[in-house]
Symmetry: C2
Amino acid sequence: MPQATAYHHGDLRAACLRAARELLEEDGSAALSMRAVARRAGVSPTAPYRHFPDREALVSAVAAEGYRELTEQLAMAHPAPATPEELAEVAVAYVRFALDHSALFRAMFAEPCDSDSEERVAATAAISEYVRDIVRRAFPGADPEALWTAVWGLAHGLAFLHLDGKFDAATPEAVAGHVRAAVLALFGAAPALSRTAATRSR
Amino acid sequence: MPQATAYHHGDLRAACLRAARELLEEDGSAALSMRAVARRAGVSPTAPYRHFPDREALVSAVAAEGYRELTEQLAMAHPAPATPEELAEVAVAYVRFALDHSALFRAMFAEPCDSDSEERVAATAAISEYVRDIVRRAFPGADPEALWTAVWGLAHGLAFLHLDGKFDAATPEAVAGHVRAAVLALFGAAPALSRTAATRSR
DNA sequence: AGAAAATGTAAGCGGTGCATACATGAGAGG
DNA sequence: CCTCTCATGTATGCACCGCTTACATTTTCT
């Protein structure tokens, strides 16, 4: 571990990540810039390039942090969801994370990424695995590959649509209620749809 | 309608929109810039500002076009979907649109927008209405507000996850099969989940 | 101690959004 | 027909951006 001096920072990489997170939390609308990160870290504009080859690498690194935190939040919402209500709570946690850390969430999913960051793909693989396990436990009989995709997609889509202001997101409670209702409606309506389809095919 | 001369363009606003669309289609990774649009339209760098107060206004205008086109594509996939298979086809069309016009789709949904564009909110309202109507027709008994939200969210989430390379999107057929399977799995698995929940609650 | 590698700085290029001031020409009022 | 007005174009300039290249400082290895 390097020593901190007047000239050398000591742990600039970590300082950059911290600065980037702070900037994202403070101004969710502004795009993250290398120079702003450098300023925040109290260092010359080009210093961060010693630790991140380009802007995308920095974004990928903070995104990877975000993936890990999101996974934690989901686990905290319910350790092993099995009922529709419990699954809905996990979806609520997913959407809440997106709204509470909107800029970070956008960095994680909305920016085009070349997926060249090893740390990043590992973190996304981890969250995928987590959702997959939930679904496998909850739906022993179904096709897990198709179903975990659908569940993740549902939560992800609701998160993005809320983020973009397509739905009312005035209060956290309103959002939670909305997401819960949507998830439960989809699960609850499926039998009705199947019945309808069966009736029509007669 | 103004006349075109050597000095005055004639219909620069439309030319800017066309140029913006072309740039988005050509290089889906680069961010749309006012100056690039101006160059493409063969006009000075600041000329577009006469027709769009800022970059966001231009993006909103092309996004509004995108919403209308997306709605068309959905209608073309199936005029009045009622069965799970038909609904899945609409979802496939949604995801295909996102992948075929990835930069446009990102402009429509991934960029933070202050929703100050009247044209834009009207176009999003139209697509919302379209999905709502589909769901109302297909699910006469269910809570329409919650359910159309869920259906849109599902398609939207699958689109974004594919766009971000979270799933294999090598061929259009693979994507279509994936989306179809996900939608059908969610609808098909719901009864199984209910049964599981009922069993556990005993 | 001296060489080499790591990590910082300084300067500069071409790009961007956008504000401000100026140029052009089309259409309305007389 | 002439002039005035104003919509629509241009020119210029500022601050910011990502990133490169060259240079300075410090640590570490031999």
